[in-house]
Structures are given as C-alpha cells and as structure tokens.
C-alpha cells in the first residue's frame, strides 16, 4: 500500500512538471506569435537574406573595381594634355560636391544614443528612442551651419541619401543601422557646435527625453566617400553649351 502511494506521489510530481512545461510553452508560443509554425519560414527568409547579402557584397566589390578603373582612366587621360588636366580638376571638384571623394578636415563628432532614463509605466516608449527624424534634423542643422561633408555611422550623406525608419533600425544609403549613431561633420567646429547647442535647438529638444547626446570638436575627421551605386534611370541632363 505504501509503495503504491509513493508511486502515486511520483506520478503527481511528473504531472506537475508536465503541467508546468505545457503552460510555459503555451505562453511562450502565444507571446512570440506561433514561433514554432513559422520556424521554417524564418529559416527560408534567413537563407534568402544571406544569399542576397552575398550578392550585394559581390556587387559592391564590382563597384569598387570599376571605380578604380575609372580613376586609372582619368589619370592616364590627364597625362596626355593640359586640357584633360584641367578637366580632371573640374571632375574632382564635381566629385567632391557629389560626395564621391573621401577626405578629412576639422569638424565635430556627435554621438546619439537611446535614452537611459527609466520609463514610467504608461509613457510612450517611442519618445525615448532615436528616430529617423531626429537624425534628419541633426544632419539638416549641420548643413545649415556650413558643414561641407556629413556622415552617419560611416555612411556619407549625399544628395540622394535617404534617412528612414525601417522597423527598429534606421536605413541610410540602404545600410541598416542601430543606435548609437555617430554623426561626423566637416566644417568650422565652432559654428557647427554652436548650431547644435543653440537654445531651443535640436539637441535641447532631444535631451528633454533623456536621449544621450555628446558633441566633440575634432581637429581632423576622416570622411568616407559614398560607396553605393549611383544610377540615373529617369533623369536626362540638359546638354550644356550646345
């Protein structure tokens, strides 16, 4: 009889564990939104993403190679005559305007990170995160203060650069990035800094929500060139001088 009761208790313990496991699993599945059934889908998408990323890397290498060849052509052409030499200078200027040349100069470095202020329940968490708009405003303000070149997390801002929210990340030059954001700007460090720290300015409005901002004046900032593809499918230039 005692043996039987002990067995029953054992089974009860097993049932207890089973119930616990079932409920935990049930709740986890419910929370993550049928994570199990979509596992295959996740794997599928991961594979797809990986192959696309590989392809992108390859294409990027190709772009780099083509750019190198282009500079080779330019160099060899400039050796031929003074006209081409002048043209090369003009070309360099145009490329500098377009942001296709890397370089360096004095300026400031701004670092933005999500708020670390403890959130009160009921408060909108969106207020404490960095949004695309915030970065857009900072970049805009920097250009307004005479910045000659701006990059965000190593992505050079050029005329066609987008700064856009994609889910929890921000996409710039088709590159996803997450906080912290490091914004480099080349220009007069004093001007740039004061434009940021302006009363009622962008930094002040960000700091209200506890977003961590640090501004550092730099003697020499390295500025990367825009490395993405440039395509004109629809734009046709008006022929000048004809």
């Amino acid at each position: 009889m005692r043996e039987k009761i002990r067995a029953n208790i054992m089974i009860a313990i097993i049932c207890f564990i089973l119930g616990f496991m079932l409920v935990t699993q049930f709740r986890s599945t419910e929370k993550s939104g049928s994570a199990i059934t979509s596992l295959q889908r996740v794997q599928e998408l991961t594979a797809q993403l990986k192959s696309l990323m590989d392809e992108k890397e390859k294409l990027q290498g190709e772009v780099k190679e083509l750019r190198n060849r282009l500079t080779e052509y330019e160099n060899s052409a400039s050796k031929i005559s003074g006209v081409t030499e002048a043209m090369k200078k003009e070309l360099l200027r145009a490329r500098m305007v377009a942001g296709l040349v890397e370089g360096y100069g004095p300026g400031i470095t701004i670092t933005l990170d999500d708020s670390n202020v403890p959130r009160q329940p009921g408060e909108d968490p969106n207020l404490f995160l960095i949004h695309d708009e915030d970065i857009l405003k900072v970049v805009n303000e920097l250009f307004a203060a005479g910045a000659e070149a701006v990059s965000v997390n190593g992505q050079r801002i050029i005329a066609t650069t987008e700064i856009r929210c994609v889910g929890p990340t921000i996409i710039i030059n088709s590159i996803r990035m997450a906080p912290p954001f490091t914004i480099d700007a080349i220009g007069d460090p004093e001007y740039l800094e004061s434009s940021m720290k302006m009363r009622g300015g962008i930094i002040e409005s960000l700091q209200v929500f506890g977003i961590q901002v640090s501004i550092k004046k730099q003697e020499k900032i390295y500025m990367p060139a825009y490395t993405g593809p440039i395509q004109f499918k629809y734009f046709v230039p008006e022929k000048a001088g004809e």
Partner: protein, 118 residues
C-alpha cells in the same frame, strides 16, 4: 479514486504555478522545448497505457519521462546545429506513439467499461 486524484492535483498545480510565474522561453529555444513537451506527453500516455495493461513501473516511468524529454530537446538542438531536421523525426515518432497509445488506452477503457456493464 486515489489513483487519479493525486496526479490530477499535480497537473493542476503545475498549470497554476506556470500561470502565476511568468517564465518565458526565449524564442530561439522554443522549438526544442516544444519537442521536449511532446516527448513528455508521450511518456505520460505511455504510462497510462502501462497502467491499463497492469505492468506499470514507477521507475521506468520516471526515468522515461526525463530522459525522453531531455534527449528529444537535445537531439533537436544538435540536429539544428548540424542542419539536419531531427525534430521532424522526433515529432513523427512521438506523434505516432501518442496516437497508438491513445488507441490502446481507449480499448482498455472500453473493455473494462463493458465488463462492468455485464
């Protein structure tokens, strides 16, 4: 009556405690735990079948429960690391066994019930 009562209380207690303490399994491990749960369910149905056939052994039951659950989760994990969907095999084996055991349990139950009627 006592035979059913204690395990049932255990099951209810487990469910209640599971509801009260919100422990979440990380999404990455959820598939492995689900396999473990399936293995555990299989063990329990196996135990019920053994009770019906009167050859139930507590120690076999307990060791089976734990080793099956852990092994199933572990194998699924290893399979994922190696890129082999072993969890499919586990689902298949345990699923088939659960249904078989259920059929046997049902037949046992029906037999007993009909005998009592006569």
């Amino acid at each position: 009556m006592n035979n059913v009562l204690l395990p049932l209380i255990g099951l209810l207690l487990g469910i209640i405690i599971g509801l009260v303490y919100p422990i979440y399994i990380p999404v990455n491990y959820a598939p492995y735990v689900s396999i473990a749960v399936l293995a555990a369910l299989d063990s329990v149905f196996g135990g019920l079948k053994a009770v019906g056939e009167n050859n139930f052994d507590v120690y076999v039951f307990i060791t089976g429960f734990f080793t099956n659950a852990l092994l199933a989760g572990f194998l699924a994990y290893i399979g994922d690391r190696l890129g082999i969907p072993i969890y499919l095999a586990a689902i298949f084996v345990f699923g088939v066994r659960i249904f078989q055991n259920l059929a046997i349990i049902r037949r046992d139950f029906l037999n007993k019930f009909l005998k009592n009627q006569k």
